[in-house]
């Protein structure tokens, strides 16, 4: 499994390099703005970095779906499917590396955000206020229990995004198996992607309509049942994807 993940991880290396380089450029531009007291420029850079980071996070997920599609449609698919590993391991490795890639993007953007924040404070009030801010954050997070809230928020976000990627995987595998002989397999899988998404969201609203779940799972502002729900759906989507690949897939 480790080796499979290694090669899946490698497939998105270019994207990581691009992310790192553009972040570096952004950071340098921001620092330049700070150094020369060009506040408008620095603010612009921050704004651009923030919006780009959102887009990139979105793209990271989509990219793993695109790679999965390529690994089913082109001759390169032989590389993946000729290895003596079960379908579950292969799809699992893809899934895990998609998550890793997303966490990577998330982590570097978060780090970049911290750096910008730190730099902002440093240039306006000096080192002392940076340390003070860090202390406040630490105190707030660790001593007053807000950390758990934040973690839940991140977890819910990540899990919800994982579920979207899983829908993408299922849509792709559907287009390469049961829809294979249809002329509009690509279009169908896109429609399917939205349809499955819609169904999942409907299920979500239905569950929220049940008072028991609504009240019982509340943990601060984040609902534990949201995570459970998305995890469950992801598991079902994963099982469906693997099952279809195992039974029907021809590359």
């Amino acid at each position: 499994m480790g080796k499979l993940i290694k090669y899946e991880w490698r497939k998105q290396r270019t994207t990581r390099v691009v992310i790192l380089i553009s972040l570096l450029v952004g950071l340098l531009a921001f620092l330049w703005g700070m150094l020369f007291k060009n506040d408008v420029f620095a603010a612009m850079v921050l704004l651009v970095m923030f919006s780009v980071s959102l887009l990139v996070l979105l793209y990271t997920g989509i990219e793993s779906i695109l790679i999965f599609n390529r690994d089913l449609r082109t001759k390169q698919s032989y590389m993946l499917w000729m290895v003596p590993r079960s379908v579950w391991e292969i799809v699992g490795a893809k899934f895990i590396s998609a998550i890793l890639q997303m966490l990577f993007s998330f982590a570097v953007f978060f780090a970049a955000g911290c750096l910008c924040g730190g730099a902002l404070l440093y240039y306006s009030d000096g080192m002392k206020s940076v340390i003070e801010m860090a202390q406040i954050i630490v105190k707030n997070f660790f001593e007053e229990g807000n950390l758990i809230d934040i973690l839940w928020f991140v977890a819910t976000f990540v899990i919800a995004w994982i579920e979207v990627i899983m829908i993408g995987f299922l849509a792709v595998i559907l287009s390469r198996t049961v829809l294979l002989h249809s002329k509009f397999a690509g279009l169908f899988s896109l429609i399917l992607f939205f349809v499955i998404n819609w169904i999942v969201e409907r299920g979500y609203s239905l569950i929220h309509a049940i008072p028991l779940f609504k009240d019982a799972g509340n943990l601060g502002i984040w609902n534990i049942w949201d995570c459970v729900y998305y995890l469950l759906i992801s598991a079902i989507l994963f099982l469906a994807t693997g099952w279809l690949a195992d039974r029907k897939l021809s590359v």
Partner: protein, 228 residues
């Protein structure tokens, strides 16, 4: 018997690529798979390699239904290049070493040298001939029980062709089985033991070469011209 295909059928867009095809392979022999383009040779090989699922019929490997673990003992080389775009020759070696226990890295490197390739060359940028050599080196360096080569002599010059044949003959001992498809019937005439003729997805004849020569004085080419 190492492999048995029973009534295999595969349909693509309503057209039968392989139709009710049954054949079996014995251990330690070299088989030829002959037929025109699109006759179903590649589909058959890909089914045995576990890349394509038959719509009907079954494949038995050493008597059990083919499963993913058998890919550890079955090597398949496709006609087209299939390595990832970023891969250099050395990456291909590492990939095979990572996934195939029967891969002999040292032998792979020997072959690479013999073919005039270098570890740092990028698979994507190779000429047809070099690419064909890389594929064959990687596939043959797997000391697999069953080795399927789809058009191994395509796109390479005469000298390389002879080298590839020599390699196959060296490797094809009594423990390894080879299944080769080719258009160059003359080239394989002297060493293939049994040939399968495939037309429109159907197996129309299995021919034991030496027995046929003995019985009727007909060569592989003669029979091919007769029935195809």
């Amino acid at each position: 018997m190492i492999l048995e295909c029973r009534n295999l059928t595969k349909t693509y867009r309503g057209k039968k690529a392989v139709a009710d095809l049954s054949l079996s392979l014995e251990n330690g022999k070299i088989y030829g798979l002959l037929g025109e383009n699109g006759s179903g040779k590649t589909t058959l090989m890909k089914m045995i390699a576990g890349l394509v699922k038959p719509a009907e019929g079954e494949i038995l490997y050493h008597g059990h239904p083919l499963e993913y673990r058998d890919k550890a003992h079955i090597a398949y080389m496709s006609t087209e290049p299939f390595y990832y775009d970023y891969m250099k020759v050395s990456d291909v070696g590492r990939y095979y070493e990572d996934f195939f226990e029967d891969f002999d890295r040292k032998y792979f490197q020997d072959l690479i040298g013999k073919f005039g390739l270098e570890e740092g060359m990028k698979a994507k940028d190779m000429s047809t001939g070099m690419s064909a050599k890389l594929k064959i080196a990687a596939t043959l360096a797997r000391k697999s029980e069953l080795c399927m080569l789809d058009e191994p002599l395509n796109g390479v010059d005469y000298k390389a062709r002879e080298e590839i044949i020599a390699l196959i003959l060296e490797e094809a001992d009594d423990k390894r089985t080879f299944l080769l498809s080719t258009h160059l019937i003359d080239e394989i005439e002297s060493f293939v033991e049994k040939a399968f003729f495939i037309k429109s997805g159907e197996l129309i004849k299995g021919m034991d070469l030496e027995a046929e020569r003995m019985a009727s004085g007909r060569s592989l080419t003669d029979v091919y011209m007769d029935i195809m």
